[in-house]
Symmetry: C2
Subunit: 352 residues, 2 copies
């Protein structure tokens, strides 16, 4: 028997544990070409919120059907039984059937989201769960956003919002590694300390401590060239104000809007895109899977060299996935939010 977390109601506003149910299901034997995986870690991502609604935004992955297992959530685990070439019991793999403890996965079948096709992982590079963050979808989003969507150029001053989050903390560090002046923002003084002391950013601020344009001006008196956006709303508006000529915005998400009951107001100063010649580009990491080998090579090396830190917020126990998501969306977590499926406690973990 196995357990799965299934949505039973679409949240209104904040995600609540009662919107989900953990159900017991029979785990069937793998057929030819399939592998049975015991999941050990599963990913918790803000963007899941976009699928927890009647209709997901056009162009995005479809809404999670109520009462069904959630497909397209990255997870890592250990192969228990294999009837597929190239996979053997004991292999560490990733796939996209998360939020459950056992999964039967078809080898070679393209996963929803691209990154999660059943793949053997090299645990000599990093512990398995890092493949859900820096070496997985989050790393790809940060990498594709900075180096492709934003087209980072030498000397660019970069602002990363939600910089203590799973993607933001990677984008901020990658920009630092490439020699940029990097400003980070987050929603608590503790996170700001993390940005300055742990990640070594050049400046950081708590966006709750004043008016965003003022805080940003203080952190970047001469303006910015690139804004890596994970927040939207007032953050994007402040960025448009601070961007210099030919500046660029890479938007990977708009967490400030995910739970909005009313359609949000967009930035009121978009005309600055015209006068300053700005480029605003939305993107999804999953649209850049061709960059995965390149990203993995770079990020793997940066981790080995101790230049890129993978901070994790670990929540133990499969049944805690919904509150983990709620906490992430509330801004409680630092770094990558992970559920350790067999664990029983809640702690933070820094892999340096």
């Amino acid at each position: 028997m196995g357990r799965e977390v299934r949505p039973i109601a679409y949240p209104r506003g904040e995600v609540r544990a009662s919107d989900f149910r953990v159900v017991e299901v029979e785990v069937r034997q793998p057929r030819a070409g399939e592998v049975l995986v015991r999941n050990t870690w599963t990913s918790v991502d803000a963007a899941l919120r976009l699928r927890l609604r009647q209709t997901a935004p056009p162009g995005y992955f479809p809404a999670f059907p109520l009462g069904e297992p959630m497909d397209g959530i990255m997870t890592v685990g250990e192969v228990v039984e294999s009837r597929a070439d190239g996979f053997a019991p004991g292999d560490t793999v990733w796939h996209a059937a998360g939020w459950r403890d056992y999964a039967v996965v078809e080898a070679g079948k393209q996963a929803l989201g691209g990154v999660g096709t059943l793949t053997k992982l090299d645990v000599r590079v990093a512990p398995p769960q890092v493949y859900l963050g820096a070496l997985g979808g989050n790393g790809l989003t940060a990498y594709a956003g900075l180096f492709h969507a934003a087209g980072l150029r030498d000397g660019d001053v970069v602002w990363v919002s939600a910089a203590a989050g799973a993607v933001g903390s990677l984008a901020a560090q990658m920009a630092k590694i490439r020699g940029h002046r990097v400003i980070g923002s987050a929603g608590s003084d503790e996170k700001v300390r993390y940005l300055l002391e742990e990640l070594g950013l050049d400046a950081a601020f708590n966006y709750k401590r004043g008016a965003l344009p003022d805080l940003l001006r203080e952190a970047a008196p001469d303006g910015i060239d690139v804004y890596f956006d994970n927040v939207g709303g007032d953050h994007l508006e402040a960025a448009l104000g601070a961007l210099r000529g030919s500046g660029r915005v890479a938007i990977c998400g708009m967490i400030s809007e995910y739970a909005a009951k009313e359609p949000p107001h967009g930035p009121g100063n978009l005309m600055l895109a015209v006068t300053k010649g700005l480029t605003i580009r939305g993107f999804r990491g999953s649209a850049h899977t061709h960059l995965l080998p390149e990203m993995t090579r770079h990020v793997g090396a940066w981790i080995r060299e101790g230049r890129l830190r993978c901070h994790e917020t670990i929540i133990d126990g499969l049944s805690q996935a919904p509150p983990a998501l709620a906490g992430l969306l509330r801004g409680d977590n630092t770094g990558k939010t992970l559920v350790r499926i067999d664990g029983f406690t809640h702690r933070e973990n820094a892999i340096d």
Copy 2:
């Protein structure tokens, strides 16, 4: 003696003739390196509104000082007296000291706005005033917007808003010439007829005749790939809804917002840029003066071949420049709005 139109008050909302005054000034003799020009045509552009305020938007040309001549407005004229090499009486030239009947211009001095540096025009290619529209800044804006900012690709379906306007009518025609399916929108049924019958667009609609998303869906049932934006506001929002994956927006202006007393609301659906991987690029034609020779070559040929039509709304008399601007901003005019400085009547003119 000469006459100049000078702003004496910044308009609140709509531009009024009483915000300007025509003053008589003494025309001085040109010094060494200067040329005296009798202006014959002067340009009327929506974007002038951005400079008729206390502070122009950051990154844009500075506000027009009250009580001073307006600098940086394209004009064509005839050299009356020259003390500069390369210019002789009778030459047709353009420069950027418009909204006056005589101007003393320094040869070689970079004009505010780039395009308007004193230049001799080849009137065998087109009549002088066409250099204020299709062969000038408007042509450059349309050309740079489509082929650079929007990165037009084979097969793209293109929506041009304000498509009966100076820039829009050129962008729409250029996209047609390059073989695209082109949808145009405008603010009157008469303009829609012009778009369909004169410019031969594939579809066109009057945005006042229904809800924009519906009108756009009817005109482009399978969506659009490129939106050439001159309007902003609800038009941009509708475009984000209709754009297909990897779609692009080139914004050259946001005429719907120029006279706004409150900061406008931006598009509430910017998150679609993320899910659909959209690129939104603001740009100014004047930031692309390096494309001027290339644009002039193409557009000159298209005019000669009868493939690109230059519709003009001509207002006669220098003193009529302010009402001409007010009319343009109200949506009264089709094609390029021009003031014929020595004229006395008001008529429309189509150069095919």
